[in-house]
C-alpha cells in the first residue's frame, strides 16, 4: 500500500510541471500560434528562477522556504513571458515561420544559460539547498484518505498547478476574451471581420504560454533535482505531446499529464517496485518507457485529434 502511495505522489510531482506547461501551450495554440519554444521558455524561466532562489538562500534571509519557492516560480514565469515575446514578435508581427523562430529560442536558451552561468561563476550548475517538499499541510492533512493523498509530502507547485488549471479553464471557456481567443485559432478572418484584434489576442496568448512555461520550468527543477544544470530534459517537448494527447482541452490535458507523470515514475522508480525489480531488466529500458509510451499513445490519439484549425498559420489580413 505504501508503495502505491509513493508512486501516486511521484506521479503527481512529475505531472504538475507537464500540466502547467501544456496548459500554457494550449492557450497559445488555441489562439493560432504554435509554440514549440516551450523547452527554451522553460529553461530560461528555470535558469533565472533558480538563480534568484539561490541568491535568496545565500543572503541568509529568514524568509520561509515556501515563500522562496513562490518567488522563484513567479520570477521564472516573468522571464518566460518576456522571452516568449520574441517568438510572438516573429510569429505574429513579422509573419515568420513559427517553427524557425521557436527553434531559435530553443537553441538560444541553453547556450545563454551555460554561457552566463560559466562566465559569472565556475561551472554551469546552479545548486540550491532548500527542501521544498512540504511534509504536511496543517489542518487539511487531517482529512481522512484525501489528506494522505493530496496534503502530505507535496510541493506548493501542486496547488499552483490545480489553480492554473481551473483559472485557465474558466478563462478559455467562460469569458468573452476566451471565446475570442478560440475564434482566432479556428477562423481568424471571420474573427477579424467581427472586430476582434487578432494580433493583440495572439500576443496575449503567447505571453501567457511563456508565463506558464517559465513557471513550469522552475517547478520542474525544484521538484526533481537539487540543482539547475542547463536542461529541462525534454519536458518542453513532452508537454507538446501531452497537449496533443489531451486534444487541446484542459481537463483531458490534466489526465494526459497524469499518465505521462506515471510513466516517468515507473522509469525512475522501477527499483522500488518488487515485481519489476525481480524481472532484472536493465534500467535503460525503463528509462525508454515514457518516450515509447508517448509514441504509442500518440499513434492512437492523433488520428482523431482536433487541433485548432488555424494553428501554425500566419495571419495575413489580405489573404482570403
Amino acid at each position: 500500500m505504501s508503495i502505491l502511495y509513493d508512486l501516486f505522489h511521484m506521479s503527481l510531482i512529475s505531472a504538475v510541471p507537464l500540466l502547467v506547461v501544456a496548459i500554457g501551450a494550449m492557450i497559445s495554440e488555441r489562439s493560432g500560434v504554435v509554440n514549440i519554444a516551450l523547452e527554451g521558455l522553460m529553461l530560461m524561466g528555470a535558469f533565472v528562477g533558480i538563480a534568484v532562489i539561490k541568491t535568496i538562500e545565500d543572503s541568509n534571509s529568514t524568509m520561509s522556504i515556501q515563500w522562496i519557492l513562490l518567488i522563484g516560480i513567479l520570477v521564472g514565469g516573468a522571464v518566460g513571458s518576456v522571452f516568449s515575446l520574441l517568438h510572438a514578435y516573429a510569429a505574429i508581427s513579422m509573419k515568420s515561420n513559427q517553427i524557425i523562430s521557436a527553434t531559435a529560442l530553443n537553441l538560444f536558451a541553453p547556450a545563454f544559460a551555460i554561457f552566463t552561468a560559466r562566465t559569472i561563476q565556475n561551472g554551469q550548475q546552479i545548486p540550491f539547498t532548500s527542501v521544498f517538499r512540504m511534509s504536511e499541510v496543517p489542518f487539511f492533512s487531517k482529512i481522512p484518505f484525501l489528506g494522505d493523498l493530496f496534503f502530505k509530502d507535496v510541493f506548493l507547485s501542486f496547488y499552483i498547478g490545480i489553480f492554473v488549471l481551473i483559472v485557465v479553464f474558466f478563462f478559455i471557456y467562460k469569458t468573452r476574451f476566451g471565446l475570442r481567443l478560440r475564434s482566432c485559432g479556428e477562423n481568424p478572418h471571420a474573427a477579424d471581420s467581427l472586430g476582434i484584434n487578432i494580433y493583440k489576442t495572439r500576443y496575449i496568448a503567447v505571453f501567457l504560454s511563456g508565463l506558464l512555461a517559465g513557471m513550469g520550468g522552475v517547478m520542474f527543477v525544484t521538484s526533481t533535482s537539487t540543482e539547475f544544470n542547463a536542461t529541462v530534459a525534454g519536458y518542453g517537448f513532452l508537454a507538446l505531446a501531452v497537449l496533443i494527447f489531451g486534444n487541446w482541452k484542459p481537463f483531458r490535458i490534466m489526465l494526459a499529464a497524469l499518465f505521462f507523470g506515471f510513466m516517468r515514475t515507473i522509469a525512475a522508480a522501477h527499483a522500488m517496485i518488487p515485481f519489476l525489480e525481480n524481472l532484472r531488466i536493465p534500467s535503460e529500458f525503463y528509462n525508454m518507457i515514457p518516450y515509447i509510451a508517448t509514441l504509442i499513445v500518440l499513434s492512437f490519439a492523433s488520428k482523431k485529434s482536433q487541433a485548432p484549425k488555424a494553428a501554425g498559420q500566419v495571419y495575413d489580413q489580405g489573404r482570403r
Partner: protein, 371 residues
C-alpha cells in the same frame, strides 16, 4: 551571353541576401553580449572568433573540415525533411544509432581492409534510416506530429545505445566504447599531408559527395519533385496523384540515413568514442541550425556547415580571452532568429518598394495625361 549571366546571378543574390543580413545581425548581437560581459576583451575575442579556423593555419583548417562533416550531414538531413514539409529534430537520435552501429561493426566484425569502413558506414547509415523510418511511418499512418515523435526517438535511441554499449563494446576503464579496429578507421587519402596535425579524414569528401547526390535527387529526379511537391502543398500533390504517405516515409528514412551516416563518419576515427553517459549528441541540433542557415538547400547545408564549423574553431581559440565557447551558440541561435525575420523583412521591403514604384508610375501617367 554576359547579360544573361548577370540576370542568372541576380536571383541567387536575392536568395542569400536574407541569410547575409541575418549573419550580420547575429554577429552584432554576439558582440554586444560580449561587451556587456567583458568590455576590455570583447573586441580581441570577437576578432579571434572571426578569424575562426585560420587561427592555427592548416591544423585548425583540417580540424574544421573534420568537425564540419557530421553537421553538414545532419544539416542535410534536417533540410531534406524540411523540403517535404517535415521538421526532423531527431537527427541527434538518428546520428547516435548510426554511430553505435558503425562502432559495433568496427570493433566486433572482422572484414578485410578496404571494405571494413565502407560496410561500417553503410550499416550505420541504415540504422539511422530505421530511426527516421519509424516517425515517418507514424506520421503517414496515424498523423503523429513528427516534431514530438522524432524527439521521443532521440531519447529512445540514446538509452538504447547506452545499453548496447554496456552489453557489447564497453571499455570499462573509461565507461565508453572500445577502439575500433584499424581496418574500420576512415582513411585519409593524403588529406593529412595537406593539413598536418589535424583530425581531417575522408569523411568530408564523403559528405561533399552526398551533398551533390542529394542535390541531384531533389532537383533532377521524379522522386525529388514529388517530395518537394508534397512539402509545398500536401492536398494538391495528393490530388495530382502523388502518394504523399509513401513520400513522407521515404523522406524521413532518407533524412535518417543522412544523420546516421554523420554518426558513422564522425566516430570511425581514432580517439573518438561514444560514452555511456546520458546526453544527446550536439551535432544533431547543430543540424537544425545548419539547415535553417542553408535555406534547406543541399549546397546551402554544405556552406552553412563549413561556416558553423569555422566559427566554432574561433570559439575554441576565443577561450584565450576568457570567453566561454557557448557564445557561439548564442550567436548562431540569434542568426537563426534573424533569418526567420529576414525573409519576412525582405518581403515587407519589396512590397513597400513596389508600392512606391506604382505611385511613381501613376504620377507619371497623370502628368502625361495633363500634357
Amino acid at each position: 551571353m554576359n547579360g544573361n549571366e548577370e540576370k542568372v546571378k541576380h536571383p541567387l543574390l536575392e536568395k542569400i541576401k536574407p541569410s547575409l543580413i541575418a549573419v550580420g545581425c547575429g554577429l552584432l548581437v554576439g558582440l554586444v553580449i560580449m561587451m556587456i560581459f567583458n568590455i576590455q576583451e570583447a573586441f580581441g575575442g570577437f576578432f579571434t572568433m572571426l578569424v575562426g579556423a585560420l587561427n592555427q593555419g592548416t591544423k585548425s583548417l583540417g580540424d574544421m573540415l573534420y568537425m564540419a562533416t557530421p553537421i553538414i550531414l545532419t544539416g542535410l538531413s534536417v533540410g531534406f525533411a524540411f523540403k517535404t514539409g517535415l521538421f526532423n529534430i531527431g537527427a541527434a537520435g538518428q546520428m547516435v544509432v548510426g554511430a553505435y552501429t558503425a562502432i559495433h561493426i568496427g570493433v566486433l566484425w572482422n572484414i578485410p581492409a578496404p571494405f571494413h569502413w565502407i560496410v561500417a558506414i553503410l550499416f550505420g547509415a541504415l540504422a539511422g534510416a530505421l530511426w527516421g523510418f519509424v516517425p515517418g511511418l507514424l506520421k503517414a499512418l496515424s498523423n503523429v506530429n513528427e516534431v514530438v515523435a522524432t524527439i521521443m526517438m532521440n531519447f529512445i535511441g540514446m538509452y538504447l545505445v547506452m545499453y548496447m554499449i554496456k552489453a557489447n563494446v564497453l571499455n570499462p576503464l573509461d565507461s565508453r566504447t572500445l577502439n575500433v579496429r584499424d581496418t574500420a578507421l576512415l582513411p585519409t587519402w593524403g588529406l593529412d599531408k595537406i593539413f598536418p596535425g589535424s583530425a581531417v579524414n575522408i569523411g568530408i569528401v564523403v559528405a561533399i559527395l552526398v551533398v551533390v547526390i542529394i542535390h541531384i535527387i531533389l532537383n533532377k529526379t521524379t522522386l525529388g519533385y514529388q517530395l518537394k511537391a508534397t512539402g509545398y502543398n500536401k492536398d494538391g500533390s495528393l490530388y495530382a496523384g502523388i502518394n504523399t504517405k509513401r513520400n513522407i516515409v521515404i523522406s524521413m528514412s532518407i533524412a535518417g540515413f543522412l544523420a546516421g551516416l554523420a554518426g558513422a563518419l564522425y566516430y570511425l576515427k581514432l580517439g573518438n568514442h561514444l560514452s555511456t553517459h546520458a546526453g544527446l549528441l550536439p551535432q544533431g541540433f547543430d543540424g537544425i541550425s545548419v539547415a535553417l542557415l542553408g535555406l534547406s538547400e543541399p549546397i546551402g547545408a554544405l556552406i552553412a556547415g563549413l561556416f558553423l564549423s569555422y566559427i566554432r574553431q574561433g570559439g575554441f581559440y576565443m577561450q584565450l580571452y576568457e570567453f566561454k565557447p557557448e557564445i557561439i551558440d548564442i550567436i548562431i541561435s540569434t542568426i537563426i532568429y534573424f533569418s526567420a525575420l529576414a525573409v519576412a523583412l525582405q518581403f515587407f521591403f519589396r512590397k513597400r518598394i513596389q508600392k512606391m514604384k506604382e505611385k511613381k508610375r501613376k504620377k507619371a501617367n497623370e502628368e502625361e495625361a495633363k500634357q
